[in-house]
Amino acid sequence: MLLLLALPLAAALVCVRAPLSVARTVTALSGAASFAFVLVLLPAAAHHDIDYLRVLRVDALSVVFMLATGFLYAAVAVYSIGYLSGEAADDSSIRRTRRLWAGLNLFAWAMLAAPMTSNLALLWVAIEVTTVVSALLVAIENTDGAAEAAWKYVLLASAGLGLALLATIFAYYAGARVLGQSYDLGFTQLLAVAARLPHGAIQLSFVLAVLGFGTKMGLVPVHTWLPDAHSEAPTPVSALLSGSLLAISFYAILRFYQVAQAALGPTFPRNVLLVFGVASLVLSMLYLFGQRDVKRLLAYSSVEHMGILAIGVSFGAPAALAGVLLHVLGHAAAKGNAFMGAGVLVRKLGTKQISAIRGGLDLLPWSGPLFLLAVFALGAMPPFGLFRSEFEIVAGGLRSGSYVAAAVLIIAVTTAFLGLAASVTRMMMLPLPRPRAVAADRVPVAASSLVEGHEAGEPKPASAATGPLTTRVATASLTSALTRGEPSAWMVVPVAAGAVALLWLGLHPPAVLDELFTRAVALLGGGAS
């Protein structure tokens, strides 16, 4: 366990100084090793809680989130090798790339540390560390958009975490009323005396926690930083932000939920989560239509899935809770895949505009189909893991009698899938408009400017709609630059691994996961209602 904490940190330190080739090897190894360590912890945590040095603690609930993070860390570390290989070799880019490697490790470290802490205060500290590290990673591209997104992100997320800190302090206050002035906010201590905690303080604490950590998790109406940050960050960072950072924030909410449920009974915390969940789901579903930027599209899909998670917990039935945990894993794999696939597309075509990306399946023999599969998985198509998890959530909702919420869930998820799939299939299936040789002959001006456009190296596909001539020139110079093939094998392997994981989760989740979920669901008070 200590090794798991030390490894990414050490890797980050190495990356600050080492040459780039060393940095990427170290990061990839550290990612793979961290994932392996989590896998080792998995069977142990399925049977008993592991306490360590009083400040570290792993139980069935935290190991689920560590699994999601560990998997994405490994996948993203490998993916980044391909993603960063195209960087120029001048001094400033080398410095930037080195920072990105170091930042990735540090970010992953903070996210792995958060679920391993044994008390609410350290949990808050770890999550705040993820904010500051990831804000720097968002800003790393040094464009106008990135600077704007990073500023909004750091300000909103920090303000949200200010509320979360208040929540932590009120939780301490509540605990101190029962346990005396000096206890250290451990979950187990709080839970042990939950029945005697003062209600007002716990209510306040829970609502502040949902609002505060919900800001980081992307719950509507405090989600506004999310699409900006996800779309402007480098792709590996987007994948980590979406697949695992949001989940980690959700984990923090779950810890407060545990305490609130034990102290107040299930009704109040579940209603709070239901309101936020439905708002997130419905609003993001509407935003999914009419997105023009492929990464923003995926970001809103993240908001949608966070809404599903919140609703799932609000159902409270054991099946729904197990579904939520499976959903966390499935979402990490699917959203990581989708972002990484989108990153390949963006790299290939040089634009994030959905209207300019065409013919993905023709151009990318591997990434294209994998991206499409990831999006279908996100839309909860069978046989992927997210289908199983959403099915369990809905079934749990029906069993616990929340018919309206379950119906809203089904309708919204289906509509959202429609919005997502419409844009994505257009990007992947529609052929890239090919320049007609005849047309080029007939318009010699176009042909000559084609060469110029190509030499300038900046085809502006976004302007394709302005006029027939520019259209032809732009698309012509695009296709001439584009041949079928993958930018880098490093960018395919992790996506393929993610797809396999998704299929595995969907078709036949391993037995150890079942044991793990049963135990975690018991922690969350499944069936208490």
């Binding site: 040094n142 206050y173 002035q181 303080a201 935003y287």
Partner: protein
Amino acid sequence: MSGIVAATVLASTVAAPSALAGGANVIAVGVLLAEFGMFRQALLRDQVRLYAAQSALISVLAVVVAATRHLPDLYVLAALSFALKTVIVPIVLRRMLRGIGAIGGDPRWNDIAGSHALSVASAVLIAIAVAAFGFFTVAALGLRSPVLPATALSVSIAVVLVAFVLMIVRRDVISQAIGFLSLENGVSLTALVVAAGLPLILEIAFLFDLLVAVVVFGLLIRVHHGRAESLSTAELTSLQG
């Protein structure tokens, strides 16, 4: 300043305050007043100074609580918090601002008077309404603290809410960053009232975290200034939808 008047009235009528309670309330109200002052600061330098003064008040309160309630940990906390929030953070901020020419240098950039989304008067009125809301809502929850009067708790929540208003109505990166930092001051005040016994090690972790956040804010302010050639956030509107 109806919220503040109400605060003092409430403190004097609900429970006849001891010298300690009175002093604590005065300090808490001072923190709130400093927060209000941030609405009208026109110079960057003064904004940072006001933050330093506000932080110093909180350290003083920590010393008062430590002395009267015999919580020796709080002396350490007060010293650390004074060193960090009254000395180090303002120095870091000012050095960075001087680095980009926003202090000294071109007078155009010293001035953030024009960064209001609303007029100062309306902003303060809204802030008063919000502060009063926070004040009475928390009072209604009936949280009692063993170390300080509950009025101080209500005031601290008002500080947190006013900090949010500050971040919303002022459109320059410095005021927004100071808004966040003073939000954290409000939380520290809350912590002093309801969680005075919070283990020192956790408090130190919080403070350290704040330092890291300040450095990151500084870096991002630099990035923003480098791209936009100004400290205003009015131009940050390209990402929508």
